[in-house]
Amino acid sequence: AQRVTQPEKLLSVFKGAPVELKCNYSYSGSPELFWYVQYSRQRLQLLLRHISRESIKGFTADLNKGETSFHLKKPFAQEEDSAMYYCALRPPGGGNKLTFGTGTQLKVEL
């Protein structure tokens, strides 16, 4: 069965420090991986997807098939990055059902 694990419920960093939000997945195949973000009082929104290989708001995430990981990184955290971050997986080959992790609350302190 497919599963997404985000080991940290809360991650607290200082402004300007590097950020790494961990995500590991289990799936026997080549799924598509996503990061969604929910800022305070806003709706869940897509941050980035691995097939795009792009940087959004300074965040990047590399799919490591060997380690089955899709960690989210940013070199210098900003106060506005404080939010809830969810890693999600979608199986290949049709269907758009997302499997989410439990989320990590990122708190950027001044």
């Binding site: 969604y36 709706r43 929104q45 897509l46 049709g94 758009n96 059902k97 997302l98 989410f100």
Partner: protein, 113 residues
């Protein structure tokens, strides 16, 4: 474009009562999804509509939950009768194509007393 809209934003009912949640997807989005997050747990898939047809309802917890999308526009999710464990946040999402990014609504917070 207007985003995914969900009504109500919060519902408080007693165990045994019936509640109906509504979702209006983004105009032109044929794909509509329901998810829910029970406190302390992950966001879980409930079901997926393509237009008015149920494409995948593998996540529906039991037969107390009924989802409809008559006419392929808005969707409703009815819980009858509601139980305590149904409390949580119910999210709706829509996408234009089956493999395109999903856009989420604000969610409906359901509290069963």
């Amino acid at each position: 474009e207007a985003g995914v809209t969900q009504f109500p934003s919060h519902s408080v009912i007693e165990k045994g009562q019936t509640v109906t949640l509504r979702c209006d997807p983004i105009s032109g989005h044929d794909n509509l999804y329901w998810y829910r997050r029970v406190m302390g747990k992950e966001i879980k898939f409930l079901l997926h509509f393509v237009k008015e047809s149920k494409q995948d309802e593998s996540g529906m917890p039991n037969n107390r939950f009924l989802a409809e999308r008559t006419g392929g526009t808005y969707s409703t999710l009815k819980v009858q009768p509601a139980e305590l464990e149904d409390s949580g946040v119910y999210f709706c999402a829509s996408s234009r194509g089956g493999n395109q990014p999903q856009h989420f609504g604000d969610g409906t917070r359901l509290s069963i007393l």
